[in-house]
């Protein structure tokens, strides 16, 4: 254990940094996707709702590892070899971020939709009856109330997504699991290495949960 920490500690820490970077990119775009798709699924417009429904079900129905292979290998292959265009490649970070963003975005959309639907329809009607436009009522009245019920689920989703970054080791992104695999293959100390890696995830996630609890309490005033 000692030897791993001394020789590979900095490497693993850097890998953790990569994991966090990937998660951050993924979550950032996931929030945007989630908000857009989530809003689409509560709109009156049938086309918007249908698009949102198809997106969510498609993403939820496909394992993320398949999505990752598809984006990293499949899409450039289709573009370059099948369609005969050229020059499309993704870095592992790009493909990984897109993959996380799509996956997490679909779940976020569901959380946001459920949060909005949990607010009494009378709130929207009251806003509209005063002459406020739909979007304005959403912003000022519905979303502030919905966000409170959404926070625990959003944090939960953040944690899942952070752990899901490990799946992206399959496309060669040098995040924590991928790096740890290399360490194990050099040292053969698999128990020690994985124990350290597990502890690193645990610490980061506990910190995240801690921050979330604080935020939740603040929002409840």
């Amino acid at each position: 254990m000692d030897m791993i920490l001394r020789s590979y500690g900095p490497l693993l820490l850097r890998a953790m940094g990569q994991t966090l970077l990937l998660a951050l990119y993924g979550l950032f775009f996931a929030c945007i996707i989630g908000l857009i798709v989530g809003m689409m699924s509560v709109l009156k417009n049938r086309v918007c709702r249908a698009v949102a429904l198809v997106f969510v079900n498609l993403i939820r129905g496909v394992p993320m590892i398949v999505l990752a292979y598809m984006i990293y290998f499949g899409v450039p292959y289709l573009w370059n070899n099948v369609l005969g265009r050229s020059g499309l490649t993704f870095t592992a970070l790009q493909a990984g971020s897109v993959c996380l963003a799509l996956n997490c975005g679909a779940y976020m959309a569901e959380i946001i939709r459920a949060g909005i639907e949990s607010v009494d329809v009378g709130q929207m009607e009251a806003g509209r009856s005063l002459g406020l436009p739909w979007w304005r009522t959403m912003q000022r009245i519905i979303l502030p109330q919905a966000i409170r019920t959404m926070i625990p689920s959003i944090i939960n989703q953040f944690i899942i997504t952070l752990k899901d970054t490990s799946i992206l080791s399959v496309i060669g992104f040098p995040e924590l699991v991928n790096t740890a695999k290399n360490v194990v293959s050099k040292t053969f100390m698999s128990f020690q290495t994985w124990a350290i890696v597990g502890a690193m995830y645990l610490i980061v996630i506990l910190l995240l949960q801690f921050a979330a609890k604080y935020l939740e309490r603040r929002l409840k005033q």
Partner: protein, 250 residues
């Protein structure tokens, strides 16, 4: 209505269907005019379409057919800005629908400030005046959940009045209240009526209808069966359905 009073709301051949698994025909050919300053009370059994009629006037329900013309604006036309129309049509709901995420004062100020009808200072002054009027000036900083039902409904009325509407719609404003709180809300509504506000009120409070209404409308099965002065409707109803209904509720 021989005197030269302006028609505020004109409803012609209004149809409303709800399409769920079956088609529900809720309003079937409603024709109605509401004059400026008139108080129209709509009564009738539940499911007769009273609330839907009010919700149509405010554009909360899409019309399936017919026209509603408010102050010359045909709200069934796509060209009419419904938000603009709603600014002059206040609505009070059965379940108050105060904005739960803001205190009483901000509930009142939100729409006027957001729609640039008033500066913040003006809106606040106006809001306080309205709260004064409904007897709740001391509750300005309270959150909706801290108020009783009667207080909530009075705040809701004040909130609608802050937009300085020409017409006020009341959708069973006292039906969700404890009996001892009905009076305070009706009192505010009577005051409004005395001041000449054009009002359409759906209610089961027959005493209020008798006392305040210029005209009472009896609805059943999505149609207006009978209308007239309170004396006519309560004293000498023509239709058997009206008689049956009044016998049950009076």
């Amino acid at each position: 209505m021989s005197e030269e009073r302006k028609v505020k709301v004109r409803i012609c051949g209004l149809q409303k269907y709800f399409k769920t698994h079956t088609v529900l025909h809720v309003l079937n050919g409603i024709n109605l005019e509401i004059m400026e300053g008139e108080v129209v009370v709509i009564i009738g059994p539940s499911g007769s379409g009273k609330s839907t009629l009010l919700r149509c006037i405010n554009g909360l329900e899409e019309l399936s057919g017919g026209d509603i013309i408010i102050d010359g604006h045909n709200i069934s036309s796509k060209k009419v800005n419904m938000n603009k129309v709603r600014e002059s049509v206040g609505m009070v709901f059965q379940h108050f629908n105060l904005f739960n995420n803001m205190n009483v004062l901000r509930n009142l100020m939100l729409a006027p400030v957001d729609l640039k009808k008033a500066t913040k200072a003006e809106a606040e002054q106006n809001a306080m005046a309205m709260l004064e009027r409904v007897g709740l000036a001391d509750k300005a900083k309270a959150m909706p959940r801290q108020l009783s039902g009667g207080q909530k409904q009075r705040v809701a009325i004040a909130r609608a009045l802050c937009m300085k509407p020409d017409i006020m719609l009341f959708d069973e404003p006292t039906s969700a209240l404890d009996p001892e709180m009905v009076g305070e809300v009706l009192e505010v509504m009577k005051e409004l009526a005395r001041e000449g506000m054009t009002m359409a009120v759906v209610t089961h409070e027959m005493g209020f209808a008798r006392e305040v209404a210029d005209r009472v409308i009896f609805m059943d099965g999505g149609r207006i069966l009978e209308e007239g002065t309170p004396e006519q409707i309560f004293g000498n109803p023509q239709h058997q359905r009206t008689k049956d209904f009044l016998n049950k509720v009076l």
